[in-house]
Symmetry: C5
Subunit: 297 residues, 5 copies
């Protein structure tokens, strides 16, 4: 189990010292541990994700839900931010997601193009920017280069960087796939090496071992894996995501394991808004309970 | 059926507040619902489109027709705008189409290059810029990156963005084609996510289901589909296009369905100018009647 | 037959109003119809083009010939312009050809790189810039993007744009080839759409119909085709080129047909300088006679 | 055996004259010969490298070790530098590694993307920048272009350039592989030609001769090879790296040979930190003894 | 035989008028005809070129040799220029070679990346810049674009351009190879068209006729070929290079033929420094004799 580092020991500059506490302490459960709502699936998967709960297709519904559920922030793309966020500015932190792609073309060479710049985030009053890195993709060169510019632009403006660290592409598929312990572990480390402040990862699947290198081809428990993943992030805060909609008990168990491992918080989208409004608020309540049990140091 | 949002509730800045009402209320039927004339086919398809009505090959004929038919705007490329629009400036809003391509090379990796910049639109007195996004193309990365620059350049100048949201490329062909409910629905959403003010879409064909993902492989009526498409645009205004020349009754029926679904207007090119002058004015009259019946809120 | 548009009705800005009349009226036959000498074959084909008349390998010989023949302008690349044009500045208008390529690599993906910029043309005292667009090439995206920059740079400096509109590449080869009525017609239109002031085209070959789309697969006379090509250029002036050296009577007949169709002039290179000095002057005399018969309106 | 060149005879400008002596004389054994600790393996190989000694996964552990072992500098990526280096600034020279890649995608076309810029190095108080060139890669063009910008940015700021000169890619694999005398010799020379101040190379393997050109297909001793490699660097200082963890006696023997050949120092990572803390300090002690025996002139 | 053009008749600007006479008249034999020493083989071929005469691996040895032999200039890459040239500044003109590549990756798509910029040449006190163009390569587009920037940067600073005009790539291999009369003739012309002041070519091999176009498939003497090559350069000065080390008599004969044909000078590297010091000086003496016999007009 990794020990979390207090914000005051991260050597942060003024801009991040203004914005990170606003996200972590002035919203959500207020303990420095947190809950985020990602809403970029309309771009990443298309409107098919909204058939399970049609009101979720409306960005206004989602922003209201994030406010009602007292999330620490919402992550959306620039088009929705321009049209909807101005009504919630000051009430709900915005993580402006800067890149994104559709699911339509093949993803063997996955690369997520920039749809917005850090200057858009500043203009829209965002408290952080979000960026998806596809670790292991053959397009890694362009991805790292693209992120380096985002990192520098954000550094110049004191803007925190949230990184979606996603193993992806043909080589990953051949080495255990995108959710293996190997690939999630590696992805987390890379986010830290390249300059993320916060990293979003999927819960590692230790049973996915086909093609992974040693020592990942050995036996590991889920707890060992999530502990290692959070440790690999060192001073980068870890958010564990829910992925596709799954059974609630399994989801809550992984949420608990993640927080115990030292994660800074949870980031759940489809598991939250692919159910009706009241059911969503009930699940949010249970997630808040878990987060509350694990305050930041 | 989606409810249209009044312009005053879109959080627009000064530039768009000057230009969008000029397009929507000071021209056309004057109710905020509208009719546009696209004339980029000389580039997209070549002069073969003009053999059906040879005068249509002359941009001056088309501009005069747009003025006579009291359209809300005309969409042309920079070369024609420079040579012909100055005679109509102040009388007919110009949507400067910024990108375009020929039909000659294969379109499996479709990408529409920029032929003009937002600064050209400002110089020429345009009230909006037009941009074609090829949703789902393997060149999506370059397309999104290219549009992001256009969006930012336009935002800095308060210039409204009209987006031609066209599913295209090999992956789209394998998943129901460019007119399926799936692809039109997805394309509309993406225009909204990426920052369109107005999106131009084709009427969805619900019968095109080969290769589409669930739930689009189920039964949907045309009305259900167009309702969902307009809803997917949320606060982005929807223009439904006519596509290739079709029978008039079918065309008018779809126009009516589109406006009922909450579309902001219609954008018909070949269906208008591939017939003689008087027949064109008669069809324009019938389209204006439909638009007039569905005023903006 | 297309009617030519007087310069005064083109809405030109000051820079073009200074330069185009200098080219069109202060040199050549002085009627606004014109004769140009292109000399970019040393780059495009290599010195093998000069074996037929060895003195033609010397740029100084060609510049002197253009002056003796009282051409309206000469089109050369930047290297030759820097070394030779200073001796003729003020006496013979220069069209600085900005791009060019060799014939050595395969042309299935033809793209002509920029060897000079509009600022070079200004520095060298040129009255226009020349640019080759390869219509229909799979590299069309890069070509259009490249030309868009040239167009904007030229617009900012009031510099006229001469466009070599050449169908080229694998898709063109499969659809009737580079000289078909279809491809020349389309290419001419594109030059107009993208912002050419003057377009150079080859005379269309109506018998090349293999693979062309309707209606180009029907019967057309050469006269019908050249009329349609000139009309497709609308307010862009058309120059018809001679292509490879051919029989003189055939060449003069096409020149006459082109001028009758409303072309603004002729642009002949190899047909002129691949013969000895006196024979060249004799042919130039006959071409001047044709041009003189068709003054600008 | 190559003779080392005193710093004062290298024609250095002020910035390098401030920074190189700080690295070479104010830290480490203080004789101008040196010992560096590279720690970019978390990015290059992933966290699997840390299973042999789990504390090594923590950058703070490594920085402390480098300080305890009195290294002349540590090489890390920008993310770790931002989060950890501020606690050691002024005590341990930082070589900010500017580029890096994962081991996941195929390396037949190896190219290491820039994750940071020289301006980051200045901001973080680094005394040098590090850059990996993949000699012989089919992506060499992009690599050289990328390095040229780094070199110029560094020159403008008086920042020394450390170059990891690594033969890599399909053509190298076909010509003796990445450790052959041929490829290491060539790589060293290239670093010098392109503007490295310090070059990091692997110890050449003279037995790898399959596919190498003459005269490398002949018999050479390890001593001859390392002598030639150091000579090929001419006025560029050579650091010999340890590569994968190997037996200690072999390692120390190569270290001795390298220093005798005129190398400026050693750069050992995994061989140092893939053992426990005390064992690491013991090895460091023996390496320091070797370095001390070979002071700079 | 081509007549050389006096410098005063080239329309040169001030910067070139200062630098070209410095190279051509203030060093070497002092008659405007010249002898250059190229030393970029450490990059282009690797250190294997130095085994024939090991001292040649040391740039200082080469610079001293160039000084002793009173060459008109030396061509080296930026890394060597920074480390070694400062000791010879003012005594020996520097042609900073701006691009270069290794021989390792396949050359079917040859392209030589920029390792330095014109501003480096200015900073280092160079009197000219050198650039390798690979004529006929499928990467010609990038090459021409890259050179166009160098040309403009140099023009702005009055810096002469030396162009290594080398036919290369798969299409050249299929059309007579890199040394055929066809390809050398074409390459020379292109250097002139694109803006070289001085062009370095290989002596054409008229017997290489497989795949060359007419009229190059006919019989030509070496004299006819070199005459045509020098003529194709028109006002660009021609330097004939020695290529791989060959027999001295053959080499001197070609040198004589080249100078008789109107070449401005000779540029010999390996033929000079792949022999011992005294033998090198003896050959230099004989080359100087030839050059002296053919002064500039």
């Amino acid at each position: 189990m990794a020990e979390r580092i207090p914000l005051s020991q991260l050597g942060l500059g003024a801009g991040k010292k203004a914005r990170l506490p606003r996200i972590l302490y002035q919203h959500g459960v207020g303990t420095g541990s947190c809950l985020f709502l990602p809403y970029d699936q309309g771009l990443e998967h298309g409107p098919r994700d909204f058939f399970a709960n049609p009101p979720a297709a409306d960005p206004q519904y989602i922003l209201r839900l994030a406010r009602e559920g007292d999330f620490n922030g919402i992550a959306i793309q620039v088009g929705l931010a321009e049209k909807f966020y101005w009504e919630y500015a000051g009430e709900l932190p915005l993580i402006l997601k800067l890149n994104g792609k559709t699911e339509i073309p093949p993803s063997d060479r996955a690369l997520s193009p920039l749809n917005a710049a850090v200057e858009d985030a500043v203009r829209l009053g965002a408290d952080a920017v979000g960026y998806t890195i596809y670790i292991g993709s053959p397009a890694e060169h362009e991805d790292f280069t693209q992120f380096a510019k985002v990192r520098r632009d954000a550094a110049r403006r004191g803007m925190p960087r949230f990184v979606w660290a996603y193993p992806r592409g043909s080589a990953i598929d051949a080495k255990g796939g995108r959710d293996s312990f190997y690939s999630v572990h590696y992805a987390t480390r890379i986010a830290s090496e390249l300059g993320a402040d916060v990293v979003k990862v999927n819960f590692p699947h230790t049973e996915k071992r086909t093609g992974v290198p040693a020592p990942y081809d050995g036996e590991f428990s889920g707890e060992q894996a999530i502990d290692a993943v959070v440790a690999a992030a060192n001073r980068t805060m870890v958010l564990v995501s829910g992925g596709e909609k799954a059974g609630d008990e399994k989801l809550l168990e992984k949420a608990e394991q993640s927080m115990q491992a030292g994660a800074a918080g949870l980031i759940y989208g489809r598991n939250v808004w692919q159910r009706d409004h009241d059911a969503a608020l009930r699940l949010i309540g249970r997630l808040r309970d878990i987060v509350t049990k694990h305050p930041a140091p």
